[in-house]
Symmetry: C2
Subunit: 412 residues, 2 copies
């Protein structure tokens, strides 16, 4: 008998029929002898509808009231699922975030969970009750309702699992698990059976959108095993968990890409202390998030500095940088919107050499030029021309053996 | 400077534009120097939509979860109005029933308010904040969400006004106030300026649907002055308040009618102890509410017993009564669905004689036969054939001088 936290997203509870499906799935897990806590999102589209109401009534809705408004979405689904389970003959009970309580800080619309009281839930579980709680929301120290920001339901689920020391946190979604790369680009992409927290974090921040990054950070911190799986079938999905020797045997776990970046180069910057600070302070003050930053060794007291920004911030960033460049004595600012970042991720890299050179050789063979390179212990990212994105992803996926035996496993 | 509780119903907050209208009205009252607490219903139609979801997901939704579900309706409107007021430059803040808290018993879907904590609200009012709270809902001693039943928002408003010792509780609705009778039947019906709690209770229970009965009971118990008025204009409405000499000077305050009843007669019942109990116990066990009961003096140890039930329960009640009648030795059961109750209400009756005879004479003059009569200190009700309802209401309204000078006042 295990304690299982199951989280269902908005698509999985998007209609009465789908909620009834979720109820059957929950009931099955309960009948198999598990204690079950369910974490739900709002019905798909519902949060958007509420946000639209807020934006219709005024231009800049109060964040405190925004949270009061949008947190009704999950309150609807937890009530409906509990009703449904009860009508099927199960003991079931919903709790709002305030009732548990799920405590957060006071940062409305982007709050962070600080603690979860497990007392009421544990008592109910002991007498065989299935507990249904809302994702995405909490209550601050003054009792104000808060929300965690978009996608926060994954984080709620992991936090609940951590508080209850659950055996597993199952995140049900509309895909079968985490794939070695985007199956829309590489049809041979295969489902990853197990992936470490660090790899998942790199995958997520590099563009694989299956899990919210914060939920993975939370899971890593508290050692919660996440099982990402489909709410539409019974296939096993992907386990996100502590690194194990099996994972290290795999050189590269996945290939990711991100087309949503643009590159800015500041040429012939005087290579003296404080210059970089000046440049990036002006950007951060305007809320532009800088991703990769490359500065090479200098020649004659001058250097070139290149960095990437989100595509949506490109024009704003160019304007800011052009303004600053003159002041710091740079010769020129160059921009390029047509770039993409292609990355390989794997804990196996740590203990293997030659991974980077294999990546570069593989790209060179296809005539793909690499503009920038950035590495971490378990990741190598290359900036290339965006037109080569799909080609690069395909050849890297092939080159690192990801289109191999797993594919067969997948089709079983 | 006064403390004013304003309650707006579902129609008044039925769209974004209407909520913005409410905000302007609230702001105006605030600008006039008042402390304001607003009590809101859900957007019209919203509660029905939520109830439909519950009924779609299962046949008999859990009442606890039903309350979790439907209480989201008001949470949406309190957030939207608070946002709107803030965007207009006012300090405003919503509180859910659990946050205040508005405490109730644990009778889900029909809970009764037990107490309201005024501390947080008072602090906020002191610093000039407009408070927005949901009607219709509360929280029980264990922290479960509860609802007060349909129309409970009026009761919430009066309870909040009582807890805060507000100067007035303004109930905004889609009519101008309480009328001497239904203006659809008598175009000369006039708005009543002031009415006592007892008169309003009789009027409400006899079919005038402006205020929920429970809210009037609550107001009477705590001496809350209710001002029923329109949310679509600035006309003064009707004050529901303690009896004063002015009210006693008026013989009849209003004429009401109710077509939603049916009459059942049990003929030649043996007149001995326990018979009535047997008859009405079987009805109440089947949740049939009996309204008027008439039993006349007996002849030869037998009597006839007549009573009215809601029209919707007529068939069920007939079946039950027919079953019981044989057992108690009655000779026959007669039913009549085509009846109506016409009543006159007024505290002035207490100190005036001849009101009843005037009523009967007035009906007789039009050839309207009276089947049953029931009286209280401030009310006389007659059961008549339903086809005469409108005629009876018109002649009574005329006869008791209600179509007189107030009409001119109304058209000003």
């Amino acid at each position: 008998m295990a304690l299982v936290v199951q989280k269902y997203g908005g698509t999985s509870v998007g209609s009465i029929e789908r909620i009834q499906n979720v109820a059957r799935r929950v009931a099955k897990a309960y009948d198999e002898g598990n204690d079950i806590v369910v974490v739900l999102s709002a019905m798909s589209g519902e949060t958007n509808k509420l946000v639209a109401l807020a934006n219709e009534i005024c231009e800049f809705p109060s964040e405190r009231e925004y949270d009061v408004l949008v947190s009704t979405g999950e309150q609807v689904t937890i009530a409906l699922l509990s009703m449904c389970l009860q009508s099927m003959g199960y003991k079931a009970k919903s709790y709002t975030a305030a009732q548990i309580p799920i405590r957060t800080d006071s940062a409305h619309t982007r709050a962070r969970i600080s603690s979860i009281d497990d007392q009421r839930v544990r008592e109910d579980l002991r007498n065989g009750t299935i507990i249904v709680v809302p994702g995405f929301q909490g209550v601050d120290p003054e009792g104000n309702l808060t929300t965690l920001g978009r996608g926060g339901s994954d984080t709620s689920a992991v936090a609940v699992a951590a508080a209850l020391k659950a055996d597993v946190c199952e995140i049900f979604t509309d895909v079968d698990g985490v794939y070695t790369t985007d199956p829309r680009i590489v049809p041979e992409a295969s489902k990853i059976e197990k992936i470490s927290y660090d790899e998942m974090l790199e995958m997520a921040s590099l563009g694989a959108k299956v899990l919210q990054i914060r939920s993975v950070e939370f899971a890593k911190k508290y050692g919660v095993v996440i099982h990402v799986r489909s709410s539409f079938n019974d296939n096993p999905g992907t386990l996100v968990m502590k690194e194990d020797p099996e994972m290290e045997a795999v050189l590269v776990a996945g290939v990711t890409y991100n087309k949503d970046e643009a590159k800015i180069s500041v040429m012939r910057v005087p290579d003296k202390p404080g210059i970089a600070a000046q440049l990036f302070t002006s950007l951060s003050q305007s809320n532009v998030t800088v991703d990769m930053i490359i500065q090479n060794v200098s020649h004659d007291g001058f250097t070139d500095m290149t960095f990437t920004v989100p595509h949506g911030d490109y024009k704003k960033a160019m304007k800011i940088v052009e303004g600053t460049a003159t002041g710091i004595g740079a010769s020129e600012v160059k921009g390029d919107e047509h770039i993409a970042k292609v990355s390989i991720v794997g804990v196996g890299m740590r203990s293997h050499s030659g991974v980077a050179s294999q990546m570069f050789a593989c790209l060179a063979q296809e005539g793909i030029n690499v503009h920038m390179i950035s590495t971490s212990e378990i990741k190598i990212s290359c900036i290339i021309d965006s037109k080569y994105t799909e080609l690069a992803v395909r050849v890297l996926h092939e080159s690192f053996g990801l289109s191999g035996e797993d594919v067969q496993q997948e089709t079983l």
